[in-house]
Symmetry: D2
Subunit: 302 residues, 4 copies
């Protein structure tokens, strides 16, 4: 099974591979709930190399705001989520530092599930201390997104970079219901479009905060999930013992071949996305743009 | 298993439920190939009620033009496909009748896989004898698409209606590689968006030709396909005998429950679409609009 | 001088042809001011045929909300204007009648100064009692806009039709600073795009309220205004007496020829619009859509 | 009278200030005609400082392709114009040099008359040797366009930069009928949007070719033109002697004040553009994108 099929951009989902009670050295986890907004805020912090290895993600903070209401078109709710996200941004960035912000909307404005970044940038109140760019994707520019961002950063020298992107998650339930804010930037190989070079503090020499929402799961993930579920169900059913033995007889490699068979070439090149993704992207872009605008209002000095 | 999960808009796929050699009373089938365009044109004709029942589709002609090259951005190829599609249109409509045409682009311009219809209408050369409308979808208008189309048709009284729509197919391999042209209109319950009332000669009292391209399969289809494939593979493998017995032991109802389990609520509300769907929709809209423009040039009299 | 050059969609501007103190039989006028919103609301009511002839507009109410702040991107202000416009709508429509609303956004979404109507419809909360359509323009559909609207109206039978359109004014100062709400519908020959058949209660047998914002003046108007101003200035200057005599010597027909000379063929086919028209249209569409949404919330019953 | 009012981006129009027969030292001019395409190609070459001063433009080649047919939607014609423009590009760039190209589409995709650049970039076939960016405008990004372009150029190091932009001309007749190709880049203070820092070989250390089409004249130009025409007409008419004396009596400063009076504040912030600018921009973007694609096909090596 390729790396990509099990890939998730969400630290939260990496954490979920392990049972909740298991403590992982180098990984702190904290959770708060809001009944009213039906919201869970989870903070995963990877503090050392052991944590990095266990999670397959770089050191840093990953704060996840989850709510089924996030994607709804309700003005009052949207403002409350914006306020929550602004607070998370201030917490991650720190209130002491201040300066100019470059907002980067990654993704392809023409492909609805990948349009979140460009749709947010359209709604940013730009001005002297708030800069904004939607660099497009390779198929539009022939350039690595990273190269465009790096060139612009070196020219305009912002103090902080906020990157907004559509992510891939491993669980269809997280799609469009989760915002992840992290100080580790956007890691390569991920997301809806592939932004291959990482946009991060390491590569840009400036604080980089990434705001991401999973908008798709890969077609491969759905196939994988189906098989896993089938296994899970059959395990519970007595009758299925016969088959379980069968799969037990498979080596890891044989299982891999089986999965390859199940996954047609065409499916590998697909993604799975909600039917009303156009409305959802629009609604989410309102919430996130408002959060960024509020954050900039408090944080930016020209 | 709900009706929808196994639903396909393509008559060709309905036909494929039966083995190729089996003759179905009331259904004629004919196939031609073009080596150069890597193209297969299949004509399925349902001639009587027996055929209708066997195929679950109304009487009429269903001509399918299939080629992996259809979606490519190659000007010379695109023109050849447009010419082929124009010929199919002339064949289905008949050259003898002539008159005014209303081109209807169904679908949601803001949701990339559902944007084919509106994208085609943008490229139609409208004029005295060529009328054109993109009525939008329920979420945009609050109205049944059919009501808008019917209202316009009764006002402008065209002699022929060409309806372009994004379809759903059952097989991911057909997605974006197949154009179906039929004189039966758009049947209800289908496609990417749900146009619930049928747009057809029966409902509009005018010849209606539908031009459709499958752009998605439902998330449910992928899950179903995976299960079917797994079954198929295991059937071939000796070792799997144990499991087969298990499923053999299931009643139809138990199998249905198993599938329900496999299919999460979220997955039901998804569709699966190619990663580069934005470019594909653009390319296909060029081919189809050019075919319609050529057809109108020959057929329309003001 | 052609009719069109002196044409204005605003009853207010027709009224301004006459001096303020002059009472016109059959035309009532009323004005209120809001200091805070820097807003003037003017109600022109044409009550009989004499008024119709004097004003060149059909009997009915024309309420104009004017403010230089209308086009600004300030959330709090925008909400106040929306509330004001909603109140005007309720006043014109009457609170007693209730029912279903069809919102019609006239104009061409691809031509920025003509995109107000379609941009408003995008932001309408459609639902069972709130229907919405952007019928496009002749160049896109090959059909009279009126025919599309009439067809849809006869099919869905709304109780009230709200038509939003970009208007032409005679005075560049009114462009983007004025909203006219009238119960007389959209009169033919007017506006940015030419919707030749009138959309009105007379033609649709339903109450029709038009909401219009002047977005352009014609190139011809600018030329005319320049000449008029020049005349005005020279009149005041002693030295200019020589020239005044000259023009005094001209017959009406000679003046017409002079104007024709001044107006190149290319200029006739132009319009004049603010440089930042894209932002202005977006901001105005927010205010008007919110006003319509609030109105529907109070008025609509399914 | 401000500089801007008389400003033109077209060297051809600067040349027209002088009578055709007058030879200007340091400025070469050459003209060819094509009867079939109703096309005139004019090459203005500024060879030294005297020419620069006389023309108010930097040294270099300015090739203008003019035809009323340029903006038409006729496939065969469009291809011929693309071929012509490609030849001009090859002539200006030189066939000997070869390398990688960065295509830059300046302007605001949301304001139709300023959308030419972004609309061209959408149609460029990007790939290893062909890079492409639409940097947006200040109101969208908060950044000088030049800074974005410079940053990207320093990162991706193209051998040649092609900049496409909407221009301002002084003559409404040139609007949408003229393409200017120059090796002097885009000069500051110009065009529809104001790109204040120049994008040129001097500032980017790479060959920069600008492709521009005038899409607007300023409102101020129309007012100015009207006054000039009026003067011209009255000069010819005997009767007008009286007025001429009047203006003869005006000092330069008084004339300036008169013009200021004629030009309202609102008019200064406007531009004048053809009513069907949306279709024209689309058609022109097809011609120019095809020209650039053909040029790249011959010139680019990866």
């Amino acid at each position: 099974m390729e790396h990509q099929e099990l890939y998730t951009d969400l630290a939260l989902e990496e954490r979920e591979k392990y049972e909740k009670e298991v403590e992982i050295s180098g990984v702190k986890i904290d959770e708060e709930q809001s009944e009213e907004l039906k919201m869970t805020i989870t903070t995963v912090e990877i503090v050392n190399q052991h944590g990095e290895r266990a999670m397959g993600k770089p050191k840093g903070k990953y704060i996840t705001v989850e709510s089924r209401l996030l994607k709804e078109n309700m003005e009052k709710l949207q403002r409350e989520f914006s306020e929550q996200l602004k607070e998370v941004l201030l917490k991650v960035v720190g209130k002491k530092s201040r300066g100019r912000v470059l907002v980067v909307g990654l993704g392809n404005a023409n492909a609805t599930p990948d349009a979140l970044g460009p749709k947010v940038t359209e709604k940013i109140n730009v001005g002297e201390g708030v800069l904004c760019i939607a660099p497009g994707v390779w198929a539009q520019t022939g350039m690595e997104t990273f190269d465009i961002v790096k060139g612009v950063v070196e020219e305009v020298k912002p103090d902080l970079i906020l990157v907004i992107d559509s992510l891939a998650s491993r669980n269809i339930r997280r799609v469009t219901t989760t915002v992840q804010i992290t100080d580790t930037g956007i890691t390569p190989g991920s997301g809806v479009g592939n932004h291959r070079k990482g946009i991060s503090e390491a590569s840009l020499k400036r604080k980089v905060i990434a705001i991401g929402v999973p908008m798709v799961v890969s077609g491969a993930t759905i196939v994988n999930d189906t098989m896993e579920k089938l296994l899970g169900i059959l395990k519970m059913v007595k009758k299925s013992s016969g088959w379980m033995e069968v799969l037990d007889g498979y080596t890891q490699e044989e299982k891999y071949q089986l999965f390859e068979e199940l996954l047609s070439e065409e499916t590998e090149q697909t993604f799975v996305t909600p039917k009303d993704v156009d409305e959802i992207v629009e609604n989410l872009s309102v919430v996130i743009a408002e959060a960024v605008n509020r954050f900039c209002h408090e944080w930016v000095i020209c």
